[in-house]
Structures are given as structure tokens and as C-alpha cells.
């Protein structure tokens, strides 16, 4: 893994670096699996190897593939890095060893999640419980961050009128690769189904709104890659996405407000249902829907924006 990382940094061919970054991402996701973080692995793979690779490729088309040979002195950064590293290593000597069950991390706060969430929230995936309910406010913030990014990118590179059919790059329909087209046609519905499965299965197994959002978006990204952005835009117009992304945040926030109006604190789902657990269920369902809505529309919107911008060049 270190080797991959080093190579990513060393090479001046940014395309290779990007591809290897994708591999590195898959590798780290594998490591996350080994360390029992299934949900994290899920997300890292979807985001690191999927979305950010694609976005980086777009940026590379726009910005050129090769890096100049560095001209400035390299010892100063090296020094900074080494100093930081030394400080960190020094700091780890008093850390409790990895994996020991007696570590403070496992003694305080977390046990409650593991022991009580079954009764309090009633869904097996503790990560989802904590994510959507105990620390639901963080997740609202996270959704807002995604929305902010989409908004920011749109402010920066969006809203261009395309001028005629200027030599489209990446956004173009490829010169009819039949096999790819046919297989994609089969796959896209399957991927969409899988996305829905992940969305609604998130309470039982790994997954949830965010991952589902990325998967749903990636189905359309495949479509975009294979059939060209113009065709995808006809299915899912950009204006729709620009409405859906804020709506997701509002759905999440609105669920919280509903709890507020029904007499609880903000994001308290208990009052939503007849029984507290039922309320939690409903709340988490709605909240995850909001996340999926924002994430999938934002991710697709990002791809549209980059594709259009790159095509203009």
C-alpha cells in the first residue's frame, strides 16, 4: 500500500497517478473491511475509486496530463513533512495499542450504542443507528456539505450555454461500440435496483442513503459514459437535479422540524411514530431518503457540469 502511495506521488504522469489512486482506494477499502468497518469500506470504494476518479479524469482532460519537473527546492517541504511525522510518531507512543478491547475508546460512549441501540432504535446496523439518530445532526451537516459542494461547483463552472456542437470530448457519443452499449443497457437497470436495495437494506446490513445515492448516480454515469451526456440529459435533465439536490437537504431538515413540531427536540424521531421505536424507524427512513436524494443528484450534477465544461474546450 505504501508502495502504491509512493508511486502515486512520484510519477509525473497524472493519468497513471489517478488510476493508481483508484487502486489505492480499493486497497484501503479492503483494509477497512479487515478492520471491521464495513460501511466505511462501502463508502470509500464508491467515493474514492468511483466518483473522485471520474471527476479527476475530467479535470485531467481539461488541464493536461503531465506534470513539469519540479524546479523549486524540495528540502523544505521534506523537512516540514518529516517534522510532522516525527511529532505524530512521538505522539503515538502513549496511545493504547490497536485492537485491545480495554482501550478508552471502547469503554466510554460507544458501549451504549452497542448495547442499547437494539432496544432504543431497533435496527441491527449500529452504524446506521448512530449515523442517522444518535449523531444525526452530523449527518445533516454532511448532507449540507455535499449540497454546498454541488452549489459551489455550479457557481464555478456551471450554467454555460453550449455553443453549437463544438468538438465534444468525453461527453460525446462514442463511435458505436456495440458490445459496450448492449451490456450497459442490461446493466444499468441492475445497478439501479442494486442502489435501491442498498438504500432500503441499510438498516440491516452495510449501506444507507449515502452509498445508495452514489450507486444510483453511478448507473447514470455509466449511461453518460457510454451513450454521451446529451442522451443522459434527456433522461434526467440538469434542471431536475438542481431541484432535487436542495430538496434532499430540506427533506432531512424537515424531518427534524417535524420532530420539533411534535414536541420533541430537533431531530428527535420518537414523536414521529406511535411507539418510540416506530418513530425512529420512520425518521431514519426519511432521513436516509433525503441523503440519497441529495447525494445522487449532486454527484450526477457534478459529472454533467464537468462534462459540459470540458466539452466546451
Amino acid at each position: 500500500m505504501l508502495v502504491t502511495a509512493l508511486f502515486v506521488v512520484r510519477t509525473r504522469d497524472l493519468l497513471a497517478a489517478t488510476m493508481l489512486l483508484g487502486a489505492y482506494s480499493l486497497l484501503s477499502a479492503g483494509m477497512f473491511m479487515v478492520l471491521d468497518a464495513v460501511d466505511v469500506a462501502f463508502t470509500e470504494a464508491a467515493v474514492g475509486a468511483g466518483v473522485s476518479t471520474i471527476l479527476m479524469l475530467y479535470a485531467l482532460v481539461a488541464s493536461g496530463r503531465f506534470e513539469r519537473t519540479p524546479t523549486r527546492p524540495q528540502w523544505l517541504p521534506l523537512l516540514v513533512v518529516l517534522a510532522t511525522g516525527a511529532a505524530l510518531v512521538w505522539g503515538t507512543f502513549d496511545l493504547p495499542p490497536v485492537g485491545a478491547p480495554g482501550n478508552p475508546v471502547h469503554q466510554h460512549v460507544a458501549p451504549r450504542y452497542l448495547q442499547q441501540s437494539g432496544a432504543e432504535i431497533g435496527i441491527p446496523n449500529v452504524v446506521t443507528s448512530v449515523l442517522a439518530s444518535y449523531r444525526g445532526y452530523d449527518t445533516l451537516g454532511e448532507t449540507a456539505v455535499v449540497f454546498t459542494a454541488g452549489l459551489g461547483v455550479w457557481l464555478l463552472i456551471g450554467g454555460l450555454q453550449r455553443r453549437g456542437a463544438a468538438a465534444p470530448v468525453l461527453a460525446s457519443a462514442p463511435h458505436a461500440n456495440l458490445i459496450l452499449r448492449v451490456v450497459s443497457k442490461f446493466l444499468i437497470p441492475v445497478i439501479l435496483l442494486f442502489g435501491l436495495y442498498v438504500q432500503f437494506h441499510g438498516e440491516l446490513g452495510p449501506g444507507g442513503g449515502f452509498q445508495a445515492g452514489v450507486i444510483l448516480a453511478s448507473a447514470l454515469i455509466v449511461h453518460l459514459q457510454v451513450f454521451g451526456a446529451d442522451q443522459t440529459r434527456q433522461i434526467v435533465p440538469e434542471s431536475l437535479l438542481r431541484v432535487l439536490a436542495p430538496l434532499g437537504v430540506l427533506l432531512y431538515g424537515g424531518t427534524g422540524v417535524a420532530g420539533l413540531l411534535l414536541g420533541g427536540n430537533y431531530l428527535d424521531y420518537h414523536p414521529l411514530g406511535r411507539t418510540p421505536v416506530g418513530g425512529q424507524h420512520l425518521g431514519i427512513l426519511l432521513v436516509e431518503l433525503g441523503v440519497a436524494l441529495t447525494v445522487s443528484s449532486t454527484m450526477l450534477l457534478l459529472c454533467y457540469l464537468f462534462a459540459a465544461r470540458v466539452a466546451r474546450r
Binding site: L15, L26, A29, M33, F42, V61, E67, G205
Partner: protein, 107 residues
């Protein structure tokens, strides 16, 4: 039985290493894409194996996702190459950083 599984795990890891080596060596972009794709496939297998060892079917969801992402990113990289070849030649004065890298189409 677990012994056999561990052996398989090692085999997958070694194969991953080999694929990674090819990805690092290049020499052409297509070699890299191929190697990264193959690497991804092996990751899928590894995750499936982990799931089998842990006895949890949940892991297979993750494996499926990996297969999916692998496909998506491979297609994306390919499209990049197709279009980049057409539009942007390596920039003057910037290429040639590594032998064999800059002159893509020739051997």
C-alpha cells in the same frame, strides 16, 4: 477448511500484487487500465473470501459494489483515453518524464 481458505487468500493477495506491479510498470496507459481492472476483480474476490471467512453474507454486498465501481471506473478511464488521444497531445516540454510514457501510441 479454514486452512484452504487462508491459502486461497494468500493466492489472491499474490495475484493482486502481480497486477499492481503491472499497473506500476505500465508501459502504456492501456496496460495500466487493464491491470487496475484486474486488480479490482481480485479485490472483489478477496472481499467475498473475507465474507466467507467471517460467515457473513453482508460482505457480499460490498463485493458487488466493488465489481460495479470497477466497471464504472474502467469505462471512464477508457473514454478518457479515447478522447484525450484525440484532443490533447502531451504538452510540449512537459512530457518525457518516464521512458515509454510520453510516446503513447508507439511501442
Amino acid at each position: 477448511m479454514s486452512g484452504a481458505l487462508v491459502t486461497c487468500g494468500v493466492a489472491v493477495l499474490v495475484a493482486m500484487g502481480l497486477a499492481l506491479a503491472r499497473a506500476l510498470l505500465g508501459p502504456s496507459v492501456y496496460d495500466r487500465i487493464l491491470a487496475v481492472n484486474s486488480f479490482g476483480t481480485k479485490t472483489v474476490l478477496l472481499i467475498a473470501l473475507l465474507g466467507a471467512v467471517a460467515g457473513r453474507a453482508d460482505y457480499f454486498d460490498v463485493a458487488l459494489l466493488y465489481a460495479l465501481i470497477n466497471f464504472v471506473s474502467t469505462v471512464a478511464m477508457m473514454r478518457y483515453c479515447e478522447s484525450a488521444e484525440a484532443s490533447t497531445a502531451p504538452e510540449p516540454g512537459t512530457g518525457g518524464s518516464e521512458p515509454g510514457e510520453s510516446a503513447e501510441p508507439s511501442p
